[in-house]
């Protein structure tokens, strides 16, 4: 396997509606920013990967319609569509292409324009025989699993509210983030509208329009174009059995994320992630999920996630800042969200994260989460 690194990232401003841009224009905005950040031109791109959940926009073949926006004409181009993991899996696919030695530079771009379609319809198109009748979207499915997780681990609404506040306060230092709520309080979260017990409005991610792109380069090109590339040290992807009822205590066990994390930690020689990681960008569509992911990712022992957030361990000034960007809780264009996790982790390694930079970050984790339990994990570092 050849070495590969991220040498540039770019994202759009994310918002509830980006009516000012069509889908190809939105994608072009992110791709142009990524090429500029990498210091390369469109001719340098050997292949393109597009991540998008086309059911949400109701427009088939996004790789066709936005391909031009992604500089893909006349080049190898493929699409990844795996729910919430689309973006991280797209980045991992791009990494595979470079690591295989077949391509020197791959552009990965994820996008979603939730405002143009009907996300609930896309989410409802599940198995027609079994659960389409009772489809309740990401919200209902999460709420069910959270009811178990709270009992299993003794997690409280107040602890979840602290996660929701941390995300939005971090987002206030990220000019690209969708939700800008710098003065949000825990009481506001606890007073926000109940959506599905125990999940409240401010516990959930928004639906965003936005795109994000990264440039992955082989070692020789990475060293040529970038003073401090973000080296991809390990990646892992895990899928699960198809139905929510197949997975016992989904959030509590989260076997896929546990397995993916163990795999990348072993490959990168990480024994104590809380101490050895400098920053993490994790895919947390709901506040309670971040707590469950702390345990699955080994940031603490099982049952200790509530204490971790109460002690401020994952705040910007804590031992392991989690989601300095504001995370999915502040910005969620689904097909782009996984790419944003990787791009934000890479920016931290490259020292280009601006006001939300974690000083001296040398090792970063990015994760993806999709459908009922799919998971991706990636370790980035200042050295290969």
């Amino acid at each position: 396997m050849n070495r590969a690194a991220i040498i540039g990232t770019g994202q759009t401003r994310h918002a509830r509606r980006r009516d000012d841009l069509s889908q190809p224009e939105l994608v072009r905005e992110a791709c142009t920013a990524a090429l500029a950040d990498a210091g390369i031109g469109q001719k340098d791109i050997d292949a393109v990967v597009i991540a998008n959940m086309e059911l949400f926009e109701g427009r088939a073949l996004p790789e066709l319609w936005v391909g031009e926006g992604a500089f893909a004409t006349g080049k190898p181009c493929m699409k990844i569509a795996t729910g919430g993991t689309s973006g991280t899996s797209g980045c991992i696919a791009g990494f595979h292409q470079v690591a295989s030695g077949l391509f020197d530079i791959v552009l990965v771009v994820g996008f979603e324009k939730h405002s143009e379609g009907h996300t609930q319809t896309g989410m409802a198109l599940t198995d027609p025989f079994w659960d389409r009748t009772v489809a309740s979207g990401a919200l209902g499915n999460f709420a069910l699993s959270i009811s178990q997780y709270m009992v299993d681990r003794g997690v409280t609404e107040e602890q979840a509210a602290k996660v929701a506040v941390k995300a939005r306060r971090n987002a206030a230092r990220n000019p690209y983030a969708h939700l800008q709520m710098p003065d949000i309080t825990e009481q506001e979260v606890l007073d926000s509208k109940m959506l599905a017990h125990p999940v409240r409005m401010l516990d959930m991610c928004p639906q965003s329009d936005g795109a994000c792109a990264i440039v992955i380069a082989a070692e020789s090109k990475a060293k040529k174009y970038c003073d401090q590339p973000a080296w991809i040290r390990a990646t892992a992807t895990r899928h699960q059995q198809p139905y929510i009822g197949d997975i016992d205590h989904r959030l509590t066990s989260m076997e896929t994320l546990r397995s993916a994390a163990r795999s990348v930690y072993a490959a990168a020689g990480i024994r104590d992630p809380l101490k050895e990681l400098d920053v993490a960008e994790i895919y947390e569509p709901v506040s309670y999920a971040e707590l469950a992911w702390y345990e699955a990712l080994g940031f603490c022992e099982d049952g200790e996630a509530g204490r971790l957030i109460e002690d401020g361990v994952t705040e910007m000034d804590g031992e392991l800042p989690v989601n300095p960007s504001g995370g999915v809780l502040s910005t969620n264009p689904v097909g782009a969200s996984g790419v944003i996790r990787v791009a934000e982790a890479a920016s931290q390694i490259m020292g280009r994260a601006g006001e939300h930079q974690v000083q001296g970050a040398k090792t970063a984790l990015a994760t993806g989460y999709g459908v009922y339990a799919w998971a991706d994990a990636m370790i980035l570092g200042t050295a290969p």
């Binding site: 009516d19 000012d20 609930q120 319809t121 409802a124 198109l125 599940t126 198995d127 027609p128 025989f129 079994w130 659960d131 389409r132 009748t133 009772v134 489809a135 309740s136 979207g137 919200l139 209902g140 499915n141 709420a143 069910l144 699993s145 959270i146 009811s147 178990q148 009992v151 509208k193 109940m194 959506l195 599905a196 017990h197 125990p198 999940v199 059995q241 198809p242 139905y243 929510i244 009822g245 197949d246």
Partner: protein
């Protein structure tokens, strides 16, 4: 900033799906208020919905296990937002209860509606039973919802 051009599309579209032999037998059973899981001869797990393969052992499954139409509530929520019914295209008005139910005899849980929509009256570990429709067509909504056995 460009103005938004809106393209409105309304359509009625029917889909046909082949059920496969496992789901065919299960659907026929529902008409007679009979629930059956298919179980794996290697790991012994009894699956709902019935399906051709055990994803853990990667073998074809063909043995059937009877499952009761009552069991334990292992997860619950009360939806406070109207949600789309993906089968009819209609919105289901809130509030309504939902649960993951471990039916007696099954090893996987069933996601279904609950008759109870008061969060104060729902708890993990409660016993629940299916309320069947009088007219049954061999689909999951032959069960109207599950009620808590008090």
């Amino acid at each position: 900033m460009s103005e938004t051009v809106t393209v409105t599309i309304e359509m009625e579209q029917a889909w046909r799906y082949a059920s496969g032999t496992a789901m065919e037998r299960f659907s026929e059973g529902l008409k007679e208020r009979r629930i059956e899981a298919v179980s794996c001869r290697l790991c012994g797990r009894a699956y709902l919905p019935p399906r051709p393969y055990c994803g853990k052992c990667n073998i074809r499954m063909s043995s059937w296990t009877p499952v009761k139409d009552e069991g334990e509530l292992v997860a619950w929520t009360v939806m406070q937002l109207p949600m789309l019914d993906g089968r009819t295209g209609e919105m289901r008005e809130a509030p309504y209860g939902m649960g993951l139910i471990l039916l007696d005899g099954a090893d996987t849980t069933l996601n279904h509606y609950l008759a109870e929509s008061d969060p104060a009256k729902l708890a993990i570990g409660q016993r629940v039973r299916a309320v069947w429709c009088n007219e049954r067509r061999g689909a999951m909504d032959d069960i109207l919802h599950f009620e808590v056995i008090r």
